[in-house]
């Protein structure tokens, strides 16, 4: 498996502001993903973070709201822009270490007031 860290682990933010979440992996990985888990819900994929090119977004998620960077094979950021209370969720990054095996970071719990 891989060791994955995320920062911050939690934050409370004001409506209209933006928050950038960092995901760091201890080894180079090709595939990195960002998920959202809203209260009481299962995980929903936001996007695949592609190294050297724009992220691939799932239906219902757009780059203006969730810009993603992937400058190298060990690091990615997800920004939640112009936040509203509906963005309160746990945000998780994951990496694919072996074929189809995804491992998750510890998550970032975001509360928007």
């Amino acid at each position: 498996s891989a060791v994955i860290s995320q920062k911050p682990s939690r934050d409370i933010c004001q409506r209209g502001t933006s928050l950038t979440i960092q995901c760091q992996v201890d080894s180079q990985v090709t595939m990195m993903f960002w998920y959202r888990q809203q209260p009481g819900q299962s995980l929903t994929l936001i996007a695949t973070a592609n190294q050297g090119s724009e992220a691939t977004y799932e239906s219902g998620f757009v780059i203006d709201k969730f810009p993603i960077s992937r400058p190298n094979l060990t690091f990615s950021t997800l920004t939640v822009s112009n936040m509203s209370p509906e963005d309160s969720s746990i945000y998780l990054c994951s990496v694919e270490v072996f074929y189809n095996e995804q491992f998750f970071g510890p998550g970032t719990r975001l509360t928007v007031l």
Partner: protein, 111 residues
Amino acid sequence: EDKVVQSPLSLVVHEGDTVTLNCSYEVTNFRSLLWYKQEKKAPTFLFMLTSSGIEKKSGRLSSILDKKEPFSILNITATQTGDSAIYLCAAPQANNNDMRFGAGTRLTVKP
């Protein structure tokens, strides 16, 4: 559209009981099914299943896949309070590595 359905959605048992969690799926070009345990924030990987009929085992947990039905079960024997968690199953979708997650089974083990 690919989908993953878990049952039951919640389950309450007492320590020492054995539980079986179910996961059925409809995935085009099936490749694998994964089980995760989620206690606080992050899901922890448990098993990946690719072949029918081959049981994977880790301590008191075991899982098996039936591609014909298709479904998978996760068994936990001699449950402990530390097994209390949400158990998620997931399957990669057809044309990419994106995971489709089930809604999860919330397991509560009472002392």
